[in-house]
């Protein structure tokens, strides 16, 4: 393919992915709209008791899983999941072609970082969904990803170009790819934190964890918090690694591994906030909704670093290409 064709194909795939993701969002929304009430009859094998059967006794209690019972909206949510996979593959294609077009890793400016970041969010979401039922989360991942991609193709769009010399380093590939996956993880954690706060409020109002209404399809606020914790526990060491890789790169490029440049400062702030989150999870009185707020604050800090510092600050790291 010629370079023009690569460029067109990459852009077309990104748009196709956005279109597919929009459909996915509609299906996820439809699954919420239909069958709002939680069916009462939830058949559970004989409750907490020791059943004797031929000398073998098995202790059982009702199994607790993330899975809400079969409901009318389920079909729509399944379609939403499939469409999200399709959107992910299309976006993956778009990112790869973008890299081929530019002849380097596809994260040299804000547009490229954004489409790759959206890919990171979808990857983390779909990755976790392999092991857990995340249909209830689909709507809350597709909406921010679409907004993000929308910003990318409109405001941030830049033609592919070579890198400025400071970005020509394999540490760039390592540092940025780690940061992108972290972005996916932190976004996921922010979504589950926000939902746990909402769901927690509804649980308190209804006085039960077995709530009715639109949040009935979600896991309980406590399970949402546990899920947040899992994802942060995965993303935090990776973020630590990303920051260290950035420091090594900075040492190579500018002669100091840490200089409190605005970008570095906000990377540090993000890191400290998520460290505070992990501590909050072990502190009585903090592990519930307060920890959720901290995780949200960490995500905000990450975004300030991305949008605020790239665009407004006088930083060595201004590579927005705008």
């Amino acid at each position: 393919m010629t370079s023009i064709q690569l460029a067109q194909a990459s852009n077309a795939l990104v748009y196709a992915s956005m279109f597919t993701l929009t459909l996915a969002m509609i299906f996820f929304a439809a699954s919420f709209a239909s069958g709002r009430r939680r069916p009462v009859a939830q058949s559970v094998p004989a409750a907490a008791a020791v059943e004797g059967s031929g000398g073998t006794a098995v202790l059982t209690r009702p199994p607790v899983t993330d899975e809400p019972p079969m409901e009318p909206g389920r079909r729509a949510a399944n379609i939403g999941m499939s469409l999200t996979w399709l959107a992910f593959l299309l976006l993956l294609g778009g990112v790869i072609l973008r890299g081929l077009w530019a002849g380097r890793a596809p994260w040299g400016n804000m547009y490229e970082f954004s489409i790759t970041g959206a890919l990171g969010v979808l990857a983390v979401f779909l990755g976790v969904s392999v092991k857990r039922d995340l249909r209830w989360l689909g709507l809350f991942v597709t909406i921010p990803t679409l907004l993000w991609l929308g910003l990318a193709v409109t405001v941030l769009y830049t033609e592919a170009a070579q890198l400025v010399p400071a970005l020509k380093s394999y540490w760039l590939v390592i540092h940025v790819s780690a940061a992108i996956i972290c972005f996916g993880g932190f976004t996921f954690a922010a979504a589950t934190s926000a939902l746990s706060l909402i769901r927690g409020r509804i649980e308190r109002r209804q006085g039960t964890t077995d709530v009715t209404g639109w949040t009935s399809r979600m896991p309980s606020s406590e399970r949402l918090q546990a899920l947040t914790n899992r994802v942060v526990a995965f993303a935090f060491p990776l973020w630590t690694f990303a920051v260290v890789a950035g420091a090594i790169w900075a040492e190579n490029a500018w002669g100091r591994y840490w200089g409190w440049d605005p970008k570095e400062t906000w990377a540090f702030i993000t890191w400290v906030i998520f460290a505070a989150y992990l501590h909050a999870r072990s502190t009585a009185g903090w592990r519930g909704s307060r920890a959720s707020w901290i995780a949200l604050a960490g995500w905000v800090a990450f975004n300030i670093n991305y949008f605020g510092v790239n665009i407004f600050a006088n930083s060595l790291h201004s590579y927005s290409g705008m």
Partner: protein, 530 residues
């Protein structure tokens, strides 16, 4: 790592850090002890972490002296009320301010006070055998029971072998005639946690070593000229308290050639694409000269110090002659870029002419003109170079004793005598019989940062250890498992297996299923609740 709130377990595991602050007791020692407990509590750590994040914010919002002293002065000038107040409070030097230091020092004192006792506790925990099986095993959240044909001994021996091979610590015992087995695994979680926190201290030490023994300087070197590593050659230099500036490593180099290239395509037109400085260096004065190339991500290592390429610009060569044609000035002056198209400002000072002359210059590598902006550059390369010179005559102020910048001209006691646009090779006959100035050519200069940080290897090592420790502490799950063998109702035996997670997110039911399967029982267990 155990805190009083990780209550996935019916038995509270370990004492942990006190979280609910009790009232301070009376008496000095009591009060001190209470204060110390407060300082080393988890909640204090949490609050101090918040403060650390918060305290960093102004450092990214306000200009900082360390990075950009010029913008700090501008900011203070533009905000005459707030500026000086913020300045006194250290807001333009946040990361060196006493309040920032107070936060992180308190945090690290808290950290040490927290980690040291935990090392002792963990050491003991690792050498203490797992506790005996609870009386009613099946009450635990993950448990199973099944009939077996094996004898108690055989079943326990088999369980023991399996657990050992899966790296559990195993202890066997007997209570009221019932033989049991207790096992524990995942000690590395706490080890990782302690290693992580300790390596944070080492990173702080490494930063301090770099601050005390390291130094950093900036210098602008023109093509064809050299540099030797002594304090007087630097444009700016800063070193730690323990550095003797007279004892810098005696290397030297010359900048032979500096190559740059800019994007000419539509996208990101003008962005830099290549910087390469060809230099010849000598590690010590007598040593043979060695050629090498410095690039942006490839510094030159000499004698522990590293030479980085951080900027570039143009240096203009002028020749000034007096009215009789004698050369009174023949030199290049560094012009400092002020935008990405390298529109640059510089001055020429000619004290040897009579009367002295001075020139303010605006250099445009690719010159363009428009009515509102006047002259400006549209591309950073030398496509259409032009310099706009303003000539002054009078007292340059060089004898006033006040040190002068080579980049600014003090025109307060000078008269402007003319203005001219010149291209390379042009000669301008100055008015009033003041002689002439020739724009002889354009060279490049490179700005280099030379840094020596003896703490950086230690910092890197500690960071790698920190990440490893963190990964262990976040991914390893600490669990206990118990096996009891009772007499079965029909002659055989009845095997009971139960497990406990000692940390959040750890689901021990898989362990129970796996062990039950190994012992030939049904794997039916249930998940523990979060």
């Amino acid at each position: 790592m155990t805190t009083d709130s990780t209550t996935t377990t019916p038995e509270p595991v370990g004492a942990g850090m006190g979280d609910e602050p009790p009232l301070p007791p009376l008496g000095t020692t009591g009060l001190l002890r209470w204060l110390w407990r407060q300082l080393t509590s988890m909640r204090t750590a949490l609050i101090l972490l918040f403060l650390l994040a918060l305290a960093s914010v102004p450092g990214s919002v306000l200009p900082q002296r360390g990075a950009n002293p010029q913008r700090v002065s501008e900011w203070i000038t533009n905000n005459p009320t707030m500026g000086p107040i913020l300045d006194r409070l250290g807001f333009f030097d946040v990361f060196a301010s006493p309040w920032f230091a107070a936060v992180y020092l308190l945090l690290f004192i808290s950290l040490i006070g927290c980690v040291l006792p935990r090392i002792g506790q963990h050491w003991k925990a690792m050498r203490t055998p797992p506790p005996a099986a609870p009386r009613r095993l099946l009450r635990l959240p993950a448990a199973t029971e099944f009939a077996s044909e094996d004898s108690a001994d055989a079943a326990l021996a088999s369980a023991q072998a399996w657990l050992r091979s899966h790296r559990w610590r195993v202890r066997r015992g007997e209570t009221d005639g019932t033989p049991w087995l207790a096992a524990e695994t995942g000690y590395l979680r706490e080890t990782g946690n302690l290693v992580f926190h300790l390596s944070l201290i080492i990173i702080l030490v490494a930063v301090a070593v770099g601050g005390l023994f390291g130094w950093k300087g900036n210098v602008i070197v023109r093509e064809g000229t050299g540099f030797s590593n002594t304090l007087t050659q630097y444009d700016a230099w800063g070193g730690g308290r323990m550095v003797d500036p007279a004892q810098l490593a005696p290397f030297s180099f010359t900048l032979d050639d500096f190559k740059v290239d800019f994007e000419r395509g539509e996208a990101q037109r003008g962005a830099p694409r290549l910087f390469e400085a060809d230099v010849t260096y000598r590690p010590t004065p007598g040593a043979p000269a060695q050629p090498t190339t410095i690039e942006v991500n490839h510094p030159l290592d000499v004698d522990g110090a590293r030479v980085f390429l951080i900027g570039h610009g143009y240096a203009l060569h002028f020749i000034v002659r007096d009215s009789t044609g004698n050369v009174v000035y023949d030199d290049t002056s560094v012009f400092l870029p002020r935008d990405s198209n390298l529109t640059s400002n510089g001055v020429v000072k000619v004290p040897d002419s009579d009367p002295p002359l001075g020139f303010n210059g605006l250099f445009l590598p690719t010159a363009a003109m428009d009515a509102t902006r006047g002259g400006f550059s549209t591309f950073p390369a030398l496509d259409n170079p032009e310099v706009l010179l303003a000539a002054f005559r009078g007292d340059l102020g060089l004898d006033s004793g006040v040190p002068q910048s080579v980049y600014t001209l003090d025109t307060s006691r000078m008269n402007k005598i003319g203005l001219e646009a010149m291209r390379p090779g042009d000669i301008w006959q100055l008015p009033n019989d003041s002689g002439s100035i020739e724009f002889a050519g354009v060279d490049r200069w490179a700005s280099l940062q030379i840094a020596y940080d003896p703490g950086k290897e230690l910092a890197l090592l500690a960071a790698v250890i920190a990440i490893s420790g963190l990964t262990l502490s976040l991914f390893i799950r600490r669990r206990r498992i118990w096996v009891k063998v009772l007499d079965g109702p029909e002659g055989g035996t009845l095997v009971q297996i139960a497990a406990l997670a000692k940390a959040e997110g750890a689901d021990p039911s898989d362990d129970v299923s796996a062990l039950a399967e190994h012992l030939g029982g049904t794997a039916a267990t249930e998940r523990s609740e979060p």
